[in-house]
């Protein structure tokens, strides 16, 4: 994955020259390394594609009646949300009412139906939920879940890690042992307990995953703080009498946070995966909420077609499965490439 390290003209620049490169030059090299990696570029394009789908969700789908009503659209002007000149277009994209996240229902049929019969893009699940609508708006849910969970876990990790690293001693020891325990608990089991106790909802799923996601960031942060604590400018700040919290906030955090932001954001794929797994088990969002895991759990009773036609309802489990796979794959491809860039030693 790192062809440039093998070529002779690059070999000489790896050693001492690297240290003399100034910041922009090093960034340029990292970008070059990243660009040369075909899998990384594929990952980047895929993530961009998902961002596009999520953003353009109102334009891509036929909005259901409740959503149109909440957007204050009537039968006469109901397609205004596809017209960029009208303000409702921007409202639908940036501040859609909650009802738009309710999957459009084509019918109330107990059986799934294919695309041709229902005149939908990908067919419907049992209950007449439009698969295409659920997947497109589910992309928004996926990003929302991913970003919020990363945000919460990141905040907890940063606070605990920096305090632990800066204060040190017994406090550090206790906090790190606690972190060890949390990190060794299976995330799905913890999430199972939390969601069961707090109740089924997308918010509680996010909380449940954040509870298990923070320790790795706390460890990273602690390591960075321990390293930066020894720097001269921190000693200087202490010498002029700054308080520890001030030092952490002004000097340590800004210098430590960069790599952790990247590591954390690359976890979005696996976070969405855990959320989908919970939904699949029946601990997810309320029925009808656009969420990939729920789409798969709709499929659970319709995995097999009638006798003799095993693939009769294939679209019910195939499309949601494929979308989740592609989403996780995209983030993993990106993550893999970033780890290569961040750690030139890795092969």
């Amino acid at each position: 994955m790192t062809p440039d390290t093998d070529t002779p003209q690059n070999l000489e620049s790896i050693g001492s020259a690297e240290e003399h490169l100034d910041q922009p030059a090093r960034k340029g090299r990292a970008w070059k390394r990243f660009r040369r990696n075909p899998l990384a570029v594929v990952g980047l394009i895929m993530v961009a594609g998902f961002v596009l789908i999520a953003t353009l969700a109102p334009v891509l789908t036929e909005l259901p009646r409740s959503c149109l009503r909440d957007l204050e659209l009537t039968a006469a002007n109901q397609h205004d949300y596809r017209n960029p000149v009208k303000p409702v277009f921007w409202k639908a994209i940036f501040a859609p009412p909650k009802s738009c996240f309710t999957i459009a229902r084509v019918s109330f049929s107990t059986q799934p139906a294919d695309a041709a019969t229902t005149k939908t893009v990908l067919g419907t699940t049992s209950g007449g939920y439009d698969i295409f609508y659920g997947l497109v708006w589910g992309t928004r849910t996926a990003f929302k879940v991913g970003l919020i969970v990363v945000g919460i876990a990141f905040a907890i990790g940063i606070i605990i890690g920096s305090l632990s690293g800066y204060i040190g001693g017994v406090f550090d020891n206790l906090v790190m042992r606690f972190t060890d325990i949390v990190i060794s608990l299976p995330s799905l089991v913890v999430a199972l307990v939390v969601v069961m106790v707090l109740g089924k909802s997308i918010e509680n799923i996010m909380l449940a995953i954040a509870v298990t996601a923070w320790p790795s960031y706390a460890r990273l942060m602690r390591g960075e703080v321990l390293r930066i604590k020894e720097e001269e400018y921190v000693a200087g700040a202490r010498a002029i009498g700054r308080r520890p919290l001030g030092i952490i906030g002004r000097h340590v955090l800004p210098n430590a946070i960069g790599p952790i932001v990247i590591v954390a954001s690359l976890d979005i794929g696996s976070i969405v995966l855990t959320a989908a797994a919970l939904s699949f088990l029946g601990l997810g969002a309320e029925i009808g909420y656009a969420d990939w895991g729920q789409m798969i759990s709709f499929a659970r009773d319709w995995i097999l077609g009638p006798p003799g036609k095993p693939f009769y309802f294939w679209y019910v489990s195939f499309w949601p499965g494929l979308i989740i796979l592609l989403f996780v794959l995209a983030w993993n491809l990106l993550g893999d490439a970033f780890r290569d860039v961040l750690d030139p030693q890795s092969k």
């Binding site: 062809p3 199972l192 489990s317």
Partner: protein, 342 residues
């Protein structure tokens, strides 16, 4: 060594208290009425819910509730599982061997395939086999367990009809039921069937395990492969490998005896995480394949809001993880003599 093991075993009660305390505190967020639901067994009791709250002291401060609960646990009473309709402890005893059997069978391909593919990829760096292994590992790693499980079920059960969900066929179940003379020594069917000299049962149980084992192992072996590849590449660049080559040792001795043995150390570190991944995977896999182990019970209990069961499962899992990590640490020393237990 002994001191090390004892000290690590002392961690068990700490984890136990930590995990249970966290759960009990979390449950304080519920109203006493909701907590009482964990004890309700019938319609009759719902009408007398206030008396249940008084009976179990659910309005007491949390530390009293916790103390009472711990007292029960020490006596061996983990509560009653509404989902399994029997005491939680009984269910744990019945279902753990089922899951353990599945997990042991899954670990073999995880380690075997992962290490073999990782080795092949590292020894053929940048050749087609390496490229293939890397793409396969990243796709395998990204495959959600539930998606893979469902797709396998559609193809191999629905379409080809080779395998079935469940643990055992109905006919075989009847022939091994009570009064059939079939003795459950370990409750692990593969072992028990051999001890009972019933090859038909052995074969049937094995066939039923194929799909769950594949589902469980794909994701984890991809992870092992990645680590094996990069750590072997790292080892191959070390001085001792150059020395071994300079001595004129045959190439396969250099790669297998010198480089690979050292490259295995990070893989062993990872195996602790593989176990966690397997526990997560078991909950989903057993649910998809209707396999009557701990995971299926835990998932069903959580959906049923069966607090006692999920609590029991969570505590049991946490204990298992601590024990397994201890095992991993001991294994470390076997592979890497440089490691000292202090």
């Amino acid at each position: 060594m002994l001191v090390f093991i004892v000290r690590r075993l002392l961690l068990l009660p700490v984890v136990f208290v930590g995990v249970t305390l966290a759960i009990v505190l979390l449950m304080q967020l519920l109203t006493p009425y909701q907590r009482a639901a964990a004890y309700v067994q019938s319609e009759q009791q719902i009408r007398n819910i206030d008396s249940i709250i008084v009976q179990y002291g659910l309005t007491d401060p949390w530390y009293k509730q916790y103390g009472r609960w711990i007292g029960e646990v020490v006596k061996g009473n983990l509560g009653y599982s509404r989902t399994a309709r029997e005491p939680v402890l009984t269910t744990l005893g019945k279902r753990f061997p089922v899951t353990l059997e599945l997990a042991i069978l899954a670990i073999l391909p995880v380690i075997g395939v992962g290490v073999a593919m990782g080795t092949a990829a590292a020894l053929n760096r940048d050749k087609p086999i390496d490229q293939f292994a890397r793409v396969a590992s990243i796709v395998g790693w990204s495959l959600p367990t539930f998606v893979l499980g469902i797709w396998l079920l559609v193809i191999f059960y629905g379409w080809l009809g080779w395998f079935q969900p469940g643990r055992i066929s109905d006919a075989i179940r009847i022939s091994t039921g009570p009064n059939s003379g079939f003795v459950n020594y370990t409750r692990m069917l593969l072992v028990d069937s051999l001890l009972n000299k019933r090859l038909d049962v052995f074969w049937d149980a094995l066939i039923h395990m194929v799909l769950p084992v594949i589902t469980l192992s794909v994701v984890q072996s991809a992870q092992i492969m990645r680590v094996m590849r990069s750590s072997l590449l790292d080892a191959l660049g070390r001085d001792y490998v150059r020395t071994a080559r300079a001595k004129g040792l045959p190439e396969h001795v250099v790669t297998h005896k010198h480089a690979r043995r050292n490259a295995l150390i990070p893989v062993i570190t990872l195996s602790g995480f593989v176990l966690i991944g397997l526990i997560n995977g078991v909950v989903i896999t057993e649910t998809i394949f209707n396999y009557p182990g701990l995971g299926q019970w835990a998932a069903a209990s959580a959906v049923n809001l069966d607090y006692a069961s999920v609590l029991g499962f969570a505590v049991f899992t946490a204990m298992m993880v601590v024990l397994a990590n201890l095992l991993v640490d001991i294994l470390y020393g076997v592979v890497d003599p440089r490691i000292r237990y202090e």
